[in-house]
């Protein structure tokens, strides 16, 4: 099969980790007889520098024409003034919205070999396997904003339809897993959360009676997520809460650098990116952890190209590399860390 993949390397370590994932995709393509073609486009800070805007039209067009999009990371000290008119993060928010990518899947399954790098006690982590489904194109991220000499405001809005579609996606994913959905909100304070809870309850009752649904307040969830992480299967929540909870959940896996994500819409191209940022402090040094992006490439094969077997092949290779101690600096405790190239090779040599 032939597939066109749009690459958006972005800033900081983005280009390094994206290149690593491309090598792995090429190897899997060669092994399974697929012809993966890659086309690179600018996004984020580098796009501001080259084109004056964080999401140039050519980038958006390139993504729409592709079968899937693989993104590195955006941002860096050069563009870090939050009050600047154009900012790298705007490119990321704009592409999520322009492609209608309302469901952001962030799986967290700590690997036995990297549990040692987690701040959490090991006995709590054995058997943890959760999938956070974060709403990605609504809420306070995209509401009207105001600012004047007196103060500032942000508006959080959710339509019934926005909550319905992400809830259906979460329930469908839960059906292929353990059938349990935890919906996170702040219904004791927010009107958007009361809507969220009502819609969640109705969708499960009317359309997914086989799913068990539990509601959890976001503050309480921030606690239980680390105190009893095994209790969760699919966790579905709104944009901002999902942002906070998934960074927290990354600590279950030992390092933010390990975690992949898939952003999906309805009949649109999917976008895949590691959940880590551009890590400007280590950019260009060849030490970044490539696993989060390599695992994002696996999600790309599974969700956008229907290549479940090829996806598993990458995941197994990463699994084996980690089991054999192929650790980058964020994971190594004994000072014997691999660089990006060596870790990528460790995966490549285990592809079969």
């Amino acid at each position: 099969m032939r597939a066109d993949i749009a690459l958006l390397p972005g800033d900081g370590i983005g280009p390094e980790v994206t290149a690593a994932a491309v090598e792995v995709l090429r190897a899997v393509g060669a092994r399974h007889g697929h012809d993966f073609r890659f086309d690179s486009f600018d996004i984020g800070g580098i796009a501001i520098d080259r084109h004056g805007e964080p999401l140039p039209q050519a980038t958006l067009d390139g993504c729409k024409a592709a079968d899937a999009v693989l993104l590195g990371a955006v941002g860096g000290p050069k563009w870090s003034d939050p009050n600047a008119r154009v900012r790298p993060e705007q490119g990321l928010l704009a592409i999520r919205r322009a492609l209608g990518l309302y469901a952001n899947l962030r799986p967290v399954r700590p690997h036995a070999a990297t549990i040692g790098a987690s701040p959490i006690k090991p006995h709590l982590l054995a058997g943890v396997d959760l999938l956070v489904v974060r709403e990605l194109t609504g809420g306070i991220y995209f509401g009207d904003k105001t600012r004047d000499a007196e103060g500032a405001s942000d508006r959080c809005y959710y339509s019934v339809a926005e909550v319905e579609r992400v809830m259906r996606r979460a329930c469908t994913l839960a059906r292929a897993r353990r059938g349990h959905v935890t919906s996170v909100d702040k219904a004791n304070v927010l009107e958007t959360s009361r809507l969220w809870r009502d819609v969640a309850t109705r969708i499960v009752r009317d359309e997914f009676p086989d799913i068990t649904l539990e509601h959890q307040l976001v503050d309480s969830m921030a606690m239980h997520l680390i105190a009893r992480p095994r209790a969760y299967d699919v966790v579905v929540t709104e944009n901002m809460f999902g942002d906070i909870l998934t960074d927290e959940a990354s600590m279950l896996a030992g390092s933010l650098g390990l975690l992949p994500s898939a952003s999906l819409g309805e009949g649109t191209v999917g976008l895949y990116e590691p959940i880590h940022g551009s890590a400007p402090d280590i950019a260009g040094k060849g030490v970044a952890n490539p696993y989060g992006t390599i695992l994002s490439a696996a999600l790309l094969l599974r969700h956008s190209l229907g290549m479940a077997q090829e996806a598993a092949c990458i995941e197994d290779a990463v699994d084996a590399a980690l089991s054999d101690g192929a650790f980058t600096a964020d994971l190594a405790s004994d000072g014997r860390a691999m660089g990006t190239a060596e870790a990528t090779l460790a995966v490549l040599s285990r592809i079969d």
Copy 2:
């Protein structure tokens, strides 16, 4: 000295833990020659049942006339419909707002004896001593809300003055500690956060040049808070982020049941409450952890009555009780747990 303390026991375990703290206050009063007088008022679910509203006028008047307020917790299954017209939580939000309690102090200092109950690895917890200052009367909690058949909205608003005063409070508190302030926001996305960051920067530059200020994004903070908790001294943030981060931070201490809080305004009566909720599942069983409320009483003595020595006397007694293994069920790992009365006695017998 004579002091009038308004008691708001509230719902669930609220009455039990409040009664425990009153016993300890009486003992400290007797020892140090103070005459503490207590007057009880209804708030939350019990106030709805008795008066039809979660914050009756008599309660508010009683609090305003007192020298300080000690609160238990509000809420329970009986009043848990988030769409009900009157809800227990409204009483809590209304009293915070009516008394102008804009600064909520939540100290987290894990005790060596209870570190074992934390999901975090012990070596990360030694020496942790942080104070979260949560803005408590602004933000999305109090903005306009809408709801119709199409959707729902909440508005997050902060005025410059609201950010200034909580920032000054945080910096003043940091001066008496290690001089470091971490301001948490989401300035890469929210306009209110850009305002927050600008004001924080200006206040520290112009008024607290001796303080070191660091900005941290809320998602990143949710991760670093458990990965390197020793890095923080005073953490200041807006209402909703503070709600989420303090529940998470409670896990550093081993149990939510251990943590006290103080809510302060300017020239108004202070309100003190444990950060845990009403725990309906264990209410009335005599097994609730009273330490969070007892330690809130210590904060009351320090911040509202100027009794630093008496406050330390309570804190030392709790410290000694914990060192000697006086654990309630949330802390005990060997099944030999004390009830509320026994744990309270363990504190009382160590007051000197």
